[in-house]
Symmetry: D2
Subunit: 306 residues, 4 copies
C-alpha cells in the first residue's frame, strides 16, 4: 500500500490529479497493450497523483472482465510505485462487483472505484445502494471510492446515501462527475468528521471543487492536458486564485468537447493531437465525423491549446 | 426453425403473447434451474406464442454470459417445439453482442431480442445504433428483434433508426416498451411494405397497441396473469372491443405495480401469490418492504385479481 | 345551457371533437376579429361538438385578460347555439383564475377549461392543486374541465389529484394532452362511478383514447383536418376499427408537425394551406423558417393530405 | 442613474448582493404595503447593492400588472437613492414585456430583469429568444439584465443566445439561477470584451461563482441571512477563501430549503424567524405543513443559524 501523508492515520491520501486513462485498440478492436505502455511512459513525466484504470473513459463496459483485470495488471507493472492505481471494478450485480474488486486488488490496484449500478434505476434507491456498496466495501482488500456519473448511468448517488456510506471504514471518498458544486460543498461539509475525500469528476468544475473543499480531480481532459491540470491544482492549493481562474476558464470548452459534447471518440482524437495514442473506440462508439472533428479542434484552438 | 403461418414467405411470425420470464434464484443467489423448470411446466398450459428469455425481467444484467446461455439452453429443452424462444442477447459492445447472439442461437433460440446499448447514451445516435444493429443482424444465425426500453436504458431507439433498420432482411420487428402509442402507430404505418412486426413491451398499453396495428406483446405481467393476457389478445383479434376494454382497464394497475412502480422484486412477489416460483432477486435488487408488499397486493385486489 | 343527451342527469355531455381554435392576428399583432369570424363560418360546416377558445393553441398566454374575454364573447356570438363553447380560464394564481372564470361564463362560455398553474412547479403538489381547482370549481357558474398539458406546463396533473377532483360536482372531466394511454385508461376505469369525461388532448392518440374509454378529443389538428377527425370519431364509435386504424395512422405525422415538432406557427401555416386564416403568431413565437415549412409540408404530403 | 465605479464608462455597475424581495400579503391575499415597508427598513441596514423587486420570490406570476408596477413604485420611494432597484418585467409575450418594462422604468427601476418566456418552450429557440430580448432591450429606457431560471421556466437560456445578446449595448448582464458553475465560468470567459456582468442566482453556488468571475448574487436567502451573504461577498473579494468556504458550506442547506426543496412558502416562514414579515403566499402556493416546517427549521439549526 502506497499511501502518502494520510489525512487520517492509516488512510490512503487521494489528493491530487488523475487521468482516467483511455484504452487504445488495434484496428481489429483488440486491446493494444503496446500503445497503452507508450502512453504510460508519457504520463510518467506529469506530476499526477496516480491513474484511474477502467473508468468510463476506459470503455470498461466494452471490455470483458478478463480484459479489465489484464489492463490493470499491465498498468501496475509500468507504473512507478509511488503512483496510486485506482481501478474501476463496478458491475451491475453485487456478486460480480465483489468478485471483480478482489481480482483488481490482486492485480495491483491500490483502491477501487465503484460506479453505481444503474440498469434497474427505478429500484436503485438508498436501501439498495447502501446494501450494494456496503457488501463491496466489507469484502474489498483495498479501499473503495464511490463513483457517481449521472451522464452515463442516468442516476445520481443520492446525498443521504453518500453520507451514510461515508461512515464505512473502507470507503474513502467519492468521485463526483455530476458537476453540481452545491452538492460537492455540502458533502464536504457534512462529512468533515469522517475525513471523507471528494474528487471532482471533470475538469470543467475542478477549480470550483477545490474552492468548496475537494481534494483533487479525476478528469478525462488529463489524458490530453495533464500538465495543465496539475498546474491548475498547484494554483488552487497555493491560493493563486486569479491565475487559477484564467487557466480554468480556458479549460472549460476543451473539457466539454471531450466529455459530454463529443465523448470518448473525441478524447481519443484529441490525444492524437497532443502526442498520445488514442485511436478508434470499440463499436458501437464511432469515430468522429469530419464536422465533429472540426468542432473539437475549434474548442482547443479558440482557447489557445492548438 | 419453428415459424408458423408467416406474414411474408419464410419470415418468422411473431404474433402473440410472450412472458419475459423471471429467473428464480436459490437463497445463495444461484440460478435455481429446478424452480425455473416448474414455472415452465405451468406456463406450458397457457396459450402463449412463446417465451422471452433474458429480457429485463430476467435480470440478465446480473447474470454472467455463461448463465445467460445456460438458462436459454435449459428453457429450450423444456419448451414444446411449437413455442418460440426469443433470447435476449444484447450487450454494450457490438463484438460481445455478436458473439452472444451466436451462442444463443446455438443454444436453441428461434430469434434474439437485442436491446439498445446505452452506457454512452450521449453518443448512441442513429449512426452508432444503425452500425451496431446491422453488424449484429448481419452475423446472426437467427432473426433479430429490436428492443427499446427507455425506462431501463435511458434511451429510446429513435424512430428514424427503427425505420432504417426495418429494411434489413434479418431484422423482423421491434419490442417497444416505451409506451408511446403514437410512436407505435407511426412505426406500423411507415413499415407496412417491410412487413415489420411490432410487439407491445408492456401490458398497460397492449390493447391500444393492438388497435394501432401491433401483432402481440412481451409483457412482464404475463408471468403472473398469462391466461388473462392471452384472453385480452383474443378479444382484440376478434373485435370484442367492449369486453377488451374492461379487461384492459383492470390490468393497468397490476401491470404498473410489477413494472415501473415496484419492478422485478414485485413481479417475483406477485408470481408467488399466483402459484409460480418468484423468490428473491440478485442483489442490489432488494426484496419489497412490507409497505411496498401491501401496495402491490392492493393493486391486485382492487382490480379483482386477488 | 346547451347540454345534449347527458351522461348523467343534468350533466353537460362533452362527447365529441373540438378544435382548440387559433387566434389570427393582424400584421401589427392585434387580434384580427374579422379573420376569426371567417374561420368560424368554415368550422360551422364541420360536425364538431363545439369549440375550445383560449386553449394553448389560441396563444392565450400572449393575450391580455381583456382580449381573452373579448375573443370568447365574439365567438359565442358567431357560434350556433347547439355548439358547446369551452373557454380556457386558467391563470397562475387562484384568485385570477376565479375571476377570469366568472368573466368567461358571463361572456357565454358553456364550460371552462382550467390549466394547471405551473410556474412554481416544484410546489404544485396534490395539496396545492386540489385547493386550486376546488376553489375555482366552487365558484364557477359553469362546469369545469381540468386541463393537463405537460409539454407546455412541465407538469402533469397527478393521477391521484384527478381522481380526488373527479368527485367535485362541478368538475366534469379532463382534457389530457400528455399522451400516456395507460393513464387515460386508468382514469376512465377509476372514475366510472363519477361519470367523469375524458377528452384526448391531441389527435395522435385519439383512436387509442376512444379504445380505452375517452369520449372525445380537443385536437389542434382539428383546426386543419376537422372533417377527418370527425370521421375518425364516427369510425371509432361505430366499431369500424380497421378503417379507423388506417385513418389514424395517416394523421400521426401531420398532428406531430403542428404540435410538438413545430408548434403553433406550424398549425397556423397549415391552416392557410387548407383554406383557413392562420397567419403569424405574436412574438416571441416566430414564423417557420423555409426549412421548417418544407418539413411541415412533407408531413402532410407523404400522408396524402396535400 | 445610480451607477458606482462602473466597469465600463457609463455602464451601470451591478456588482454586489441583492435580495429578490418577497411580497407580503394580508390575510385576504392583498399586497400588504405596510409590512413590505417595514421589511425595507430592516434591509436598509444591510450593505446590499440594491434590491430585486418582482423576481420569482416576489410571486410576480400571481400579481396583476398593476400590482407589479405599484410594488416597484412603493419600493423606490422607500429605498435610499444609492441603492439599485432591479425590477422584474418579463411577461410571456414580447409586446407585454416591452410595455411593462417601460412602466417599470417610469416607476423608478434602475434596471429590469427579464425572464425567459417559457410557455411554448419547445419553440423558444435561439432565434425566438434573441428576437424577444433584442426588442425589449431596444425599447427599454433602462438597462436590461437577462434572467435564466430553469427550475421555474423549464428552460435554460442557451449559452449561444447569451453570448449573442451580450453584444447588445443595453443588455448589461445575466442572473443565472441554474447553478451550472461550468456554464457561468464559460460565460464570463467568452464575454470578457463585452464587460458583461454575471450574477449568481442562488446562494448555494455564490462562492463558486465569485471564483469563476461572477460579480455578485441575487439570492433568495438574502431575505433571511442578508448580512451573512454580504459577509461572504467580502470574504471572496478580499481573498479570504478559507473563511469563505466555511461560511459558504453552512449556507447550502438553508438555501436549498428556501428555494428548490420548499420554495417561497419556506422563504416566508424563515423570514418570520429572523424578524421580517413573511406570512402566507397567494394561492395556489400553500403554507408549509408541520413536517415541512420542522424540516426547514432543522436546515437552519444544524448549520448554527437558529
Amino acid at each position: 500500500n502506497r499511501s502518502q501523508s494520510s489525512p487520517a492515520a492509516g488512510r490512503l491520501n487521494l489528493s491530487g490529479i488523475y487521468p482516467p486513462i483511455a484504452t487504445p485498440f488495434t484496428t481489429k478492436e483488440d486491446v493494444d497493450y503496446q500503445k497503452l505502455k507508450e502512453n504510460l511512459q508519457k504520463y510518467a513525466r506529469i506530476p499526477f497523483k496516480g491513474l484511474v484504470v477502467q473508468g468510463s473513459n476506459g470503455e470498461y463496459p466494452y471490455l470483458t472482465e478478463e480484459e479489465r483485470v489484464e489492463v490493470v495488471r499491465m498498468v501496475r507493472q509500468s507504473l512507478p510505485g509511488e503512483k496510486l492505481l485506482m481501478a474501476g471494478s463496478g458491475c451491475e450485480s453485487t456478486r460480480a462487483t465483489v468478485e471483480l474488486t478482489g481480482r483488481m486488488a490482486a492485480a495491483g490496484a491500490d483502491a477501487v472505484l465503484v460506479v453505481t449500478p444503474c440498469f434497474y434505476r427505478g429500484k436503485m434507491d438508498s436501501r439498495a445502494l447502501i446494501h450494494h456498496f456496503t457488501k463491496v466495501a466489507d469484502s474489498s482488500p483495498v479501499p473503495v471510492v464511490l463513483y457517481s456519473v449521472p451522464a452515463n448511468t442516468g442516476l445520481e448517488l443520492p446525498l443521504d446515501t453518500v453520507l451514510e456510506l461515508s461512515h464505512h471504514p473502507n470507503i474513502l471518498g467519492l468521485k463526483d462527475s455530476g458537476g453540481d458544486i452545491t452538492r460537492i460543498g455540502l458533502i464536504v461539509h457534512k462529512t468533515k468528521t469522517q475525513d471523507f475525500q471528494v474528487l471532482a469528476g471533470s475538469a470543467g468544475f475542478l477549480m470550483a471543487a477545490y474552492c468548496l473543499g475537494a481534494v483533487g480531480g479525476v478528469c478525462a481532459l488529463a489524458n490530453v492536458l495533464g500538465q495543465e491540470l496539475c498546474e491548475l491544482e498547484r494554483l488552487c492549493l497555493s491560493g493563486s486564485w486569479e491565475e487559477a481562474r484564467l487557466l480554468q476558464q480556458r479549460l472549460i470548452e476543451p473539457n466539454a468537447a471531450v466529455t459530454r459534447k463529443l465523448g470518448v471518440p473525441a478524447l481519443k482524437q484529441a490525444m492524437e493531437w497532443f502526442g498520445f495514442h488514442g485511436g478508434a473506440c470499440r463499436s458501437p462508439l464511432q469515430r468522429l465525423t469530419e464536422a465533429e472533428t472540426q468542432q473539437l479542434k475549434q474548442d482547443f484552438t479558440t482557447n489557445g491549446w492548438l
